[in-house]
Symmetry: C3
Subunit: 166 residues, 3 copies
């Protein structure tokens, strides 16, 4: 069961994703892609961490997402989030196409619940910054690719899921 949870900023997408996994037997693996570059990000990471009760095992994985998914084996996994992972790839000058291909392959090998969180970033005005345009293009394409193999896709609005697939 592969679920893609999309949503805007502060839409409640992470909380919704956590609730999806909470119905499964613990332990749950939390693959955290966000890096605490600054105070704002540190506060957000701390807030997310405080919300997760026991039963969660958090692993920081800024880049090697495919490897960690394989490593998780038959334990339920939450990836939060694809968007920060893409950011890390772009800022670290990694090969995005190769990394995404490896992610898709790893997702194909998963036999248990996997929930992927992604930010919807493409519904505003075209950004003036070229890197921002590249980023939102890559994010949109990644969401499309994952959606083709996902069992369920939801768009979270004000904390509530709009079912797009499944």
């Amino acid at each position: 069961m592969l679920t893609l949870v999309l949503g805007g900023a502060r839409s409640g997408k992470s909380r919704h994703a956590e609730e999806l996994l909470a119905g499964m037997p613990a332990p749950w693996i939390y693959l955290a892609t966000g890096q605490a570059w600054d105070e704002e990000m540190r506060a957000r990471v701390a807030e997310h961490r405080a919300r997760r009760t026991e039963g969660w095992q958090t692993i920081e994985v800024p880049v090697t997402l495919a490897d960690e998914l394989d490593e998780a084996g038959d334990r339920p996994v939450l990836v939060d989030c694809l968007t920060l992972w893409l950011t890390n790839l772009l800022l670290g000058d990694h090969d995005v196409e190769q990394a995404v291909s490896r992610l898709m392959a790893a997702l194909g090998r998963r036999q248990v619940a996997t929930v992927l969180v992604g930010s919807e970033v493409g519904m505003g005005i075209v950004p003036e910054n070229a890197l921002a345009r590249r980023f939102r293009d890559e994010a949109g394409l990644l969401h499309q690719r994952i959606a083709t193999i996902a069992d369920r896709v939801v768009l979270v609005v004000a904390g509530l899921p709009l079912v797009v697939k499944g």
Copy 2:
């Protein structure tokens, strides 16, 4: 009956909200949070005002939203919009958390139709401006909180409501 009407810029969310109330007996209270800071805003306020026929009583309420909701008593109310109210709180350096708590309490006391309009502002690229980031975070959190107590939540797209709850 509490309804949260979300939508992007020029999505037709205000018009949809007005139509929701028009099914109830007049008079309807229109709590207008927008302040006509500039020509663009003045034009928009005038356009909204021109659309509302008799039966509407407009009250300008940039900040004290909870008080005016209590004041409205058993008359149907439309709040247009939460987003400008949040803007006024942030620019006026008010205590957002306290103001939101008071709003939630006032909404809990309402016995008749209340329609709240909010702008969806979190589906674009992360803004470079720190105040803009704070604003879209506060807007997202506010929408989530109201959605938990709302009977109905819709996302207006091209003038048409996508039902998210209710």
Copy 3:
């Protein structure tokens, strides 16, 4: 049958629109409004073009959309996209209201399948740039007007259609 296909950047809206027409007998008319101003745009136009197989007749129509719709007669038409057409109108200092009125009239005369693609650009933070604000207002208003006469309106998310109407 008039269909409005909305979606964010790289949401898969063009591909979804093409698939809608592919169920009809060829030839299909592709009215391409995008102008290859720069390398990025040229690459995108080339990618879209490469995807379209035989059966498609591509006509570049940066401005005179109503005329070309009339010209297409009883052949199925895909307009990709309204957003770039609006951009061309604004940058070329054309009369937007008049052009939109002529488009609406031409759509009213269509007797066969017509699919219009538009970008959802109004769900981010208010742009600081006045032209960008004008553009997103015009885009929102245009989508609303077309939605009132459309048989079907969808919002494409991660390549999948959320049905808003029809």
